[in-house]
């Protein structure tokens, strides 16, 4: 299992017994592993000297964290106000139709995890989709499939 | 060291096992309609009756263990009393008393202990033989 040493490496970057670092450490773990496993939350809590109860509470309070494994790519549908009034929810429907999975779900083939996110700060390009951080602006329902296909092919 | 406040003194040799103290306590801790649960009990080890109730220990284990400071010593009576509004019902005090003097009332989820009836203990008042005195 390559995961275990990796987890230890991330945890070891933080000085032990410093509870303030919990949010940062969990973010680093998620960046490396894509989600927070029970084992990872436990390791983070133990290292920083906080209870598992609090670590789990933090992991469920902040939306940045995922507690289940993610798809290979993350498709984010921005639901900022600008995107909303320019049709973000229509896009969400179109994504569901195209990929067979809607917000909060991962496609059956594990290619995409789909999420709705609060404003990503690209309001001028609304509505916006993000595929693994690559921003697709001014997406209209007719082109969702094509643009997702192209983004999916990107290395 | 002599306590500055009166104490409930048990002279078990004078106890005849009539259980008046239990009834008096139940009445004092209950209402006219319903008896309360007594904080005193007559035990009969070796057949001799002996009234058992809280000794109001100076170094009380119950006070020490209470996580929220709900048990404290009454400044006037010297009794260890429970602030029911502060009690979180954890039963630590029930566990802590080495003499088993705190019992647990499941129905009200509260620990039961003698509070010396605010300085007028009913048990002593009604004890017919002087086995229980308050002085």
């Amino acid at each position: 299992m390559p995961r275990a040493p990796e987890l230890n490496d991330i945890v070891a970057k933080y000085p032990p017994g410093k509870p303030r670092a919990l949010l940062h450490l969990l973010q680093d773990i998620q960046t490396a592993q894509g989600y927070l496993s029970r084992e990872a939350i436990g390791a983070a809590a133990q290292h920083l000297g906080v209870t598992e109860t609090r670590a789990f509470q933090i992991a469920t309070f902040y939306k940045a964290f995922h507690l289940t494994p993610r798809g290979r790519q993350t498709l984010r549908i921005c639901t900022g106000t600008s995107c909303h009034i320019r049709g973000a929810m229509v896009l969400a429907d179109e994504v569901r139709k195209t990929l067979g999975a809607g917000p909060g779900a991962t496609t059956a083939d594990g290619a995409f995890s789909i999420e709705l996110v609060n404003c990503v700060g690209a309001c001028a390009l609304a509505p916006v989709l993000l595929v693994d951080g690559e921003m697709l602006g001014n997406v209209h329902p007719g082109t969702v499939a094509r643009r997702l296909k192209r983004a999916g092919e990107a290395p | 060291m002599r306590s500055p406040t009166p104490m409930l003194i048990i002279d078990w040799r004078k106890c005849i096992g009539c259980r008046t103290c239990e009834l008096a306590c139940a009445m004092a801790k209950g209402s006219p309609e319903k008896l309360g649960r007594p904080r005193i009990a007559i035990h009969r080890p070796d057949d001799a009756p002996i009234p058992m109730t809280c000794l109001q220990c100076l170094e009380a284990a119950c006070v020490k263990i209470c996580p929220v400071g709900a048990l404290s010593r009454h400044p006037e009576t010297g009794a260890v009393v429970l602030d029911e509004n502060r009690c979180i019902h954890c039963q630590s005090c029930v566990a802590a008393c080495p003499f088993g003097h705190i019992s647990w009332a499941e129905e009200s989820r509260t620990p039961l202990k003698c509070d010396l009836c605010d300085g007028q203990p009913a048990c002593a008042k009604f004890c017919p033989t002087g086995a229980l005195t308050y002085k």
């Binding site: 670092a21 919990l22 920083l48 933090i58 309070f61 939306k63 320019r86 001028a124 390009l125 | -």
Partner: protein
């Protein structure tokens, strides 16, 4: 190189300015979020390749050291007109080009950079066909006045040298010469009000923190820009990070703090990276850490990353989050400026507020107060977005009217549709209608009108925006962002959302509007924190200005904007339809039939009312009709 004295900083600046002056031209490629999405990164690479191919030596970003270089290329932060990216600005001519593609790099290099020419056919054009030879002429920029955004779009965000060359840290030098009391007084005299929402006097806040007795004090920069539809702070953090550090350091000097935190939301990874680099660079240069610029003054800054919780923009929740706790607010009966982070006096201002500070210290209180209105001096940055022709990041003097912002700068409503409303202040603010268009942007004027300044989102809405839907949108946002601690916000907002949803679905009952208004008032009164207290604002303001629309949803079960799906079916206007065929593939319900060049038809039975067809139609041929729900 460590700058151990004020003189060393001055010498450094002198050297840098001389080197920059030796360069003939500067080309600024916008590397803001929107421009990058539009291909600005590829454009910048292409310019560098082309320059190399054409034998032009470029100095890139902060790297001004190459003495051979004659032209400088800067990948800047957001330049503002996001919708038209990638944006390119060439100095000293101040030529301004929109939508420049990588394949145009060769011409840019050969004509604009080698030959000093303005490429006329790339210049922005007015609707009347007039070419704007310089950026200053472009209406979008003409009415603006940048203070907080001064460096954003101008400096190289990752170069401390470039920031210094642009006059960076001159304000800090001034501040080191001043007494802390003088700094506080200057900020107070400038009349700077917090740009994050409430508009509390920054100087007064600093004064309270400075006068509170404590061993430690903190300075926090709130970069948790949670308002959906706002990205001003993001732009500043990405585009001019050193300015924030300078502003915070001045605040620290004023109140006697040794430690600062910048709280940045996790949706802004680039801002985190930029700030991180900037902090490291400042430490290395002796501009952060022990003995800043050789003066007996220590201050350091740490980044705290948010975890995706809007409520963490609330000051007490933000502080808990920095402490590594769940970001739940506490009742605000104790002021966090007195008992804030770790129970110590804490000054918390947002990004834009700190970005104004260096300018105020460098140029004086009177200079700042001369702009804007008496009650709200200075300028305000806004994100002008939504259904507006020119979307982007702007900064205008306080007192500019909404009409000027939307029509003069924004170029009016998108596609020439009728203006309906403008939303300011995000989920805590409100919607204003046509009648409020001449309202000046000013903290007090907006509050009096039932909205608020907020952090600066400005969302323009046209006749195809439904106010019930917008109110529901904000309330459902707040529902999912409520921390869940207190009953009125957790349960009340959810019920409120449900009531608005029934209006959208045509199942609301008469009297529901009054119920919703009462609930709104109760939530505002009884909630624990500012988030809950302001949660009903978007609804209450919408009801004030668009009551008839709510009533139409409840009583007639119609949505005139054609947004509420359960109340709407779409039909094609045969007069306008050109049979272009765009709508049919866009329909998620496969409800549209029609041959090419023939009038298309929507099957009303299949139509889900989503409006995708109307969104894509270029000929204004799709009409929203009431669905005529059966009586319930």
């Amino acid at each position: 190189m460590k700058l151990t004295s004020v003189d060393m900083l001055a010498q450094r600046r002198e050297t840098l300015v001389q080197r920059t002056a030796a360069l003939a031209r500067e080309v600024r490629v916008c590397a803001g979020t929107a421009c990058v999405a539009a291909g600005a990164g590829k454009l910048s690479d292409a310019i560098q390749r082309e320059a190399a191919a054409q034998g032009l030596v470029l100095a890139v970003d902060g790297d001004a050291a190459d003495v051979e270089a004659t032209v400088r290329l800067v990948n800047t932060g957001c330049q503002g007109l996001c919708q038209a990216g990638p944006l390119v600005r060439v100095l000293p001519q101040d030529a301004f080009y929109c939508g420049v593609r990588p394949k145009q790099a060769a011409r840019l290099v050969s004509e604009a950079l080698q030959n000093n020419a303005v490429i006329a056919d790339w210049c922005a054009v007015s609707p009347q066909g007039q070419r704007y030879a310089t950026r200053a002429e472009v209406p979008f920029y003409r009415h603006q006045q940048p203070i907080a955004l001064e460096g954003c779009g101008a400096v190289a965000p990752e170069s401390l040298d470039d920031y210094i060359a642009h006059g960076g840290f001159a304000a800090l030098v001034r501040a080191l010469e001043m007494s802390p009391e003088d700094i506080v007084q200057t900020v107070e005299d400038a009349g700077l009000r917090g740009r994050g929402g409430g508009g509390f006097s920054t100087g007064r806040k600093w004064r309270i923190a400075a006068s509170a007795s404590a061993s430690e004090r903190y300075v926090i920069c709130n970069g948790d820009e949670g308002d959906p539809g706002a990205f001003m702070d993001c732009a500043i953090m990405e585009g001019d990070p050193f300015r924030i550090i300078e502003g915070m350091t001045i605040a620290a000097r004023a109140i006697g703090a040794q430690q600062g935190f910048i709280y940045v939301r996790h949706e802004y990874p680039k801002a985190v990276a930029r700030l991180d680099k900037a902090i490291v660079a400042c430490r290395e240069a002796g501009l952060l850490g022990a003995g800043i610029l050789g003066a007996g003054f220590d201050f350091d800054v740490e980044i705290a990353r948010g975890g995706g919780a809007f409520v963490c923009g609330e000051s007490t929740a933000l502080m808990r989050s920095i402490e590594g706790l769940v970001g739940e607010p506490r009742a605000n009966y104790v002021r966090s400026v007195q008992e804030g982070l770790y129970g110590q006096p804490t000054v918390l201002n947002n990004v834009e507020t700190f970005a104004c500070v260096p300018a105020i210290i460098a140029r004086g209180a009177a200079w700042f107060a001369a702009t804007g209105t008496p009650g709200s001096p200075g300028t305000k940055a806004f994100c002008l977005v939504g259904k507006v022709a020119h979307t982007g990041l702007i900064e205008v003097p306080m007192g500019t009217t909404l009409r000027q912002v939307i029509f003069d700068i924004g170029g009016g409503v998108l596609d020439g549709r009728p203006f309906k409303a403008v939303q300011t202040g995000g989920p805590s603010g409100g919607c204003l209608g046509e009648a409020q268009l001449d309202l000046p942007v000013d903290f007090d004027a907006l509050t009096a009108a039932g909205s608020m300044m907020g952090s600066g989102g400005m969302i323009v809405m046209d006749d195809r925006t439904c106010m019930v839907d917008v109110a529901h949108y904000y309330l459902s946002f707040l529902q999912s962002e409520s921390c869940g601690r207190c009953v009125p916000c957790r349960e009340g907002v959810a019920q409120f959302c449900h009531l608005l949803d029934t209006m959208r679905r045509g199942t609301a009952k008469p009297g529901d509007l009054d119920r919703a208004i009462r609930l709104a008032q109760d939530i505002a009164q009884a909630s624990l924190c500012g988030l809950g207290k302001s949660a009903p604002n978007p609804f209450l303001s919408a009801v004030t200005h668009f009551r008839a629309e709510f009533e139409a949803h409840i009583n007639d079960r119609t949505c005139s904007a054609g947004v509420c799906r359960d109340l709407t079916v779409f039909a094609i206007d045969a007069q306008n339809c050109t049979g272009c065929g765009l709508c049919a593939p866009a329909c998620p319900a496969d409800a549209i039939a029609g041959a090419p060049k023939q009038v298309h038809v929507i099957d009303a039975q299949k139509c889900t009312g989503c409006g995708a067809c109307r969104t894509v139609c270029r000929d204004d041929a799709v009409r929203a009709l009431p669905r005529n729900l059966p009586c319930n």
